[in-house]
């Protein structure tokens, strides 16, 4: 098989897979919320409400596409696109397993292993901010503008600690490429601790998780869409599939972020202390590594849902204060300590 055919299959495959996970996440969110809140949740559409996402999708597709008269047409239409396309594209460099051998060819389970790795993700992720601000401004609605402004300020501010936390990972592993970092997380150090990112960069992990919640606009940082304060924030004026793009874009963002967390901090497809790759054949190892990776990703997706229904939300100035006065100094401190450690132990 030619390389380009394999590449296309991988692209389409991962695109469909991520979309599927996003769709299932809507179901998990609603049933998870119901579980935490002591109530049944959707249970009419199919067994255990499993067809609920299908029903939601059909509803969004068949609604009438309305553009408000006074809205800026171009901005209004581009907003959702700019938000959801980067979310999908960012998954191109996240691995979803080790490698698999098919027909004599060794195929790595990653769409493309560029050597700038997560720099690409940070760059693409910044485009999503445009989607929010254009959507908010283009709606010509005071509530949308408020939501768009809040969201922009929040997302831009939290990209700094995100990047700085990742810098610590670069120091430890010496590379930007996600695949190389995943490979380096095999084995143990200090005798018993696995080489996972969380043990080598505990503070960096906490910083990354908090900044990631802020980037994903999830509670406790969901004030851009704080329903009770400014109706729906930047997607107040959206309906039908444009709203669908915003909502799915959000879930795909979650999947991407969970993928990055697992790849960088949680050992990717490795299990602690046991090197399965040595025991299993190439094809089965490929499949097993894929399963392990996505099991870990689903844990982090569940954590997003769990935190959403537990914590209240921050106020705007508190979010800014936390980002600039709390996380950034901590991130700089983290880099300093990491550099010191590396200097002293090498």
């Amino acid at each position: 098989m030619d390389d380009w055919l394999i590449a296309i299959i991988k692209v389409v495959g991962i695109w469909v897979w991520v979309l599927l996970i996003a769709v299932v996440m809507t179901w998990v969110e609603r049933r998870g919320a119901a579980l935490i809140q002591d109530r049944p949740g959707p249970n009419r559409a199919g067994p255990w409400g499993l067809f609920q996402p299908l029903a939601d999708g059909i509803k969004l597709f068949t609604k009438e596409e309305i553009i408000p008269t006074k809205a800026q047409k171009l901005l209004y239409i581009i907003g959702p696109l700019l938000f959801s396309v980067p979310a999908f594209s960012a998954y191109a460099v996240v691995p979803f397993g080790d490698k698999i051998v098919l027909g004599g060819k060794e195929i790595i389970l990653q769409v493309s292993d560029v050597n700038i790795g997560f720099l690409y993700i940070l760059a693409i992720g910044s485009m999503a901010v445009y989607g929010v601000i254009l959507g908010g401004w283009g709606s010509n609605n005071k509530y949308s503008i408020l939501g768009g402004l809040r969201s922009t300020a929040q997302m831009v501010s939290y990209e700094v600690p995100l990047g700085l936390a990742l810098l610590g990972i670069v120091f430890v592993y010496g590379t930007f490429s996600l695949r190389d970092i995943s490979l380096a997380q095999q084995g143990t150090f200090l005798g018993f601790l696995p080489n996972w990112g969380i043990f080598k960069q505990p503070l960096g992990f906490i910083l990354f998780i908090v900044a990631a919640y802020a980037e994903a606009n999830r509670v406790p940082f969901d004030l851009p869409e704080a329903e009770s304060e400014i109706v729906s924030g930047y997607h107040t004026e959206y309906g039908s599939m444009r709203l669908g793009l915003y909502l799915f874009g959000e879930y795909v963002n979650l999947v991407t972020i969970s993928g990055i967390i697992v790849a960088l901090y949680f050992g990717s497809w490795h299990i602690p202390y046991i090197d399965l790759g040595a025991y299993l054949g190439p094809i089965s190892w490929g499949i097993v590594s894929f399963c392990i990776f996505f099991l870990k990703v689903s844990f982090f997706l569940w954590m997003f849902v769990w935190v959403r229904w537990t914590l209240p939300r921050f106020r705007y100035d508190q979010v800014m204060g936390l980002g600039w006065r709390g996380l950034i100094p901590l991130a700089l401190f983290n880099i300093f300590i990491t550099a010191l450690f590396i200097q002293l132990t090498v």
Binding site: I36, D38, V219, P220, S228, E229, W309, L311, R313, Y316
Partner: protein
């Protein structure tokens, strides 16, 4: 700023932007409207506008008989209808000089305290929802459903229970009240516990509620505050203790008093009041069980109520504060003038002073904590 009933879209005065919040909005409790002049996120001037739920209740009362007015009082504070009914009945009984028998008073106390718990559950739940914590609302509402079952079982209505009659109570407590009560008590305590665990010591919650719209005691008294909002400011004033009615002087219970009068204090005062209500119901039920089974439930009142001419004011401690009825009679079967003194009326008129200088997010938090109920405000 314009006060037209038709909402306006944009109206910039220099650098300030006028934002119209309500009357149809997820956060406005009922139909309230706030026109806020904002500078980005902070509020420069706030203008509340009420009257969207004005139904002319006081005018209506002048053309109905005294008994026919009781269902209308249900619809005042619709989160807890029973204290409204009892307040009105007490005012008419005072005017007529009628003494309500003890058993009826105990039943009134039990039902009023249950309604108080229900009201506080809604208030705290909605405060959580407005600030982003969705889950405690569900825990509290599930228990509120159990209280509704007791109401429905007593009277047939869950929300607008036309409770009691002028002169007493129309029916006795059900036979299995004890069993229902013993099941309800731990449920309410557990829901309160879970809510406390989720909220009270949560750093985000404390940041969002401590110090927001703090109010001093002198200001609160000047503005006519009563109820949990006044107690949160540090003034120990509770009509159940200061001007006891309905045998409240026989019960031992504590009255929580806050310090700063901010949103956090109001929240804590309401949580503690729920616990104290449970104790009151316990004591009242114990006294009730000692009454003979055939004790009278109604005083002797004529079928057509015609109080002597005169005017009287009688108040009780509703979950929101001092709910008073001023009833003036001219000797006929219809009241001459009924005036309802809503507790949240006095509190909501201080809203601009409470909130100016804070952020929009705080406006919503403050409004939720005041427990302004449009039915009571507008009548």
């Amino acid at each position: 700023m314009n006060q037209n009933p038709t909402p306006q879209t944009s109206h910039d005065t220099g650098d300030y932007v006028t934002v119209n919040i309500g009357p149809s909005h997820p956060a406005m409790h009922g139909t309230l409207r706030v026109v806020a002049l904002t500078d980005g996120e902070s509020l420069i001037k706030v203008d509340p506008e009420i009257g969207y739920l004005h139904r002319g209740v006081e005018k209506l009362g002048e053309s109905l008989t005294y008994h026919q007015f009781i269902p209308i009082t249900d619809r005042l504070n619709y989160c807890s209808a029973i204290p409204n009914n009892v307040a009105y009945e007490m005012a008419v009984e005072k005017l007529m000089g009628v003494e309500v028998p003890e058993k009826a008073q105990l039943i009134r106390v039990i039902m009023m305290e249950l309604a108080r718990i229900a009201d506080h559950q809604v208030c705290i739940g909605i405060l959580g929802v407005d600030l982003g914590a969705f889950t405690p609302f569900f825990y509290l509402i599930i228990q509120r459903e159990e209280i509704y079952e007791i109401f429905e079982w007593f009277n047939g209505a869950r929300l607008t229970n036309t409770f009691g009659r002028i002169g007493g109570v129309d029916a006795d407590l059900p036979d299995d009240f004890e069993q229902r009560w013993e099941e309800l008590k731990p449920g309410v305590r557990k829901a309160n516990d879970e809510t406390e665990k989720l909220l009270t010591h949560n750093r985000i919650w404390m940041d969002r509620t401590i110090g927001i719209s703090a109010f001093s005691a002198e200001d609160a008294l000047n503005w006519g505050f009563t109820g949990p909002c006044l107690r949160a400011c540090g003034v120990k004033r509770d009509l159940r203790i200061d001007e006891p009615y309905c045998m409240y002087d026989k019960f031992k219970f504590k009255v929580p008093v806050g310090k700063n009068g901010d949103v956090f204090d109001r929240y804590i005062v309401r949580m503690i009041e729920m616990e104290e209500s449970l104790k009151i119901i316990d004591q009242a039920y114990k006294l009730y069980k000692e009454m003979p089974a055939d004790a009278p439930l109604m005083a002797r009142v004529p079928k057509v109520i015609k109080p002597p001419a005169g005017e009287v004011y009688s108040a009780l401690e509703s979950p929101n504060g001092e709910l008073g009825f001023f009833v003036k009679s001219d000797g006929s079967a219809k009241p001459y003038r009924i005036r309802i003194r809503p507790p949240c009326y006095m509190i909501y008129q201080a809203f601009p002073e409470l909130v100016e200088g804070e952020l929009i997010a705080d406006l919503v938090a403050c409004l939720s904590s005041l427990n302004v109920i449009a039915g009571e405000l507008d009548r």
